[in-house]
Amino acid sequence: MSTVIGSGRPARFTFGPNERATLTDPLIANNPITVQMLGVCSALAITTRVDNAVVMSVGVILVAMIASLAVSLIRERIPTAIRIIVQLAIIASLVTVFDQVLEATFYEISLELSVFVGLIITNCMVLGRAEGYAMRHPPFPAVLDALGNALGYALILIVVAATRELLGVGKLLGFQVLPLTRDGGWYEPNGLMVLPPSALFVIGLLIWAMRTWWPSLVEKD
């Protein structure tokens, strides 16, 4: 005799309007970086070049999805008192795997990202979605929610990195897009864009632009 494990309801893998909203809301309307203010640290520190941002985004997308899946699967068995430690242990194991794979395949990029791969563990976006969503929802929506938020995070990361790399050294993904005056072209590179503070300016201006386009995002008070 076969019994259904868990709630007894048939598992839902349908992709209706609710699921679409779970996936697309965090892209703009509820973006983790510019609206929820989660996972800001890494967004600032590693966005000098697009390839770094892409690698970081891939890491966060994978870790967030698998962590949310795992947390959601065992959510009814985690004691409330130690849930943060359980979540951290799951995320830390996944990050360790990602770090080792990165070191084995893209050694130079892993050197450049230095401690920031390890800091995916404390990326509040990953933990925030595990704690805030996956603990209370079945696996399928939990994975969608993690994917949506991670994509929203990746979107901001790549936009900021592209702006900084283009204006800072006139390149995109390492290819010269704007010819520099130094090499006989017309573009005078903006040195500030390579330095860390410019990430803050770019994100600040990005928030301004987003709130002008979508006035519903403006903070009350």
Binding site: P196, L200, F201, L205, I207
Partner: protein, 204 residues
Amino acid sequence: MEHFINLLIRAVFLENLALAYFLGMCSYLACSKKMETAIGLGLAVVFVQTLTVPLNNILMRGLLDEGALSWLGPTFAEIDLRFLSFILFIAVIAAAVQIVEMAIDRFLPALYTSLGVFLPLIAVNCVILGGSLFMQERDYTLPESIVFGFGSGFGFAIAIVALAAIREKLSYSNVPEGLKGLGITFIVVGLMSMAFMVFSGIQL
């Protein structure tokens, strides 16, 4: 001695974890609206950072490094457990935060009430894990890691108190509609970070 003073100044100003590496930005931006909360979070970070960086240093040298387990016998001498450092560090931090919380609650109730919710939150603050990871990457000795732990925590505290002071004044200014709140805070932090870059001219 001079070496340690240099290390301290470098950790507080030149390599300020908040303004040069942008670690702990989430709580840095979220908890800097009021002066009291900023001071509370700053104190808690100094406390936990000074404790966990040396603790992780001891564990790293005693358990994780290549050959660190040779005290168990010659068969263990070649084991390199450094890939476990993330899990070990975060476990130590979570446990240390818990112990510090209970100790402060027992012996310094006044400080406990003023720190409030920030103590438990510190376990997931990237400043703390970042400090331990920098310690590992730069291979500090135990005394160096004590100085670095205190210095980096203190640097974060200075930075968050400074930002809170600016934001309290900022509430009287006329900021464009879309920039209000988060937007202008990012730009202020950017300017502060530029100001802190001046310190990189110091020769140590």
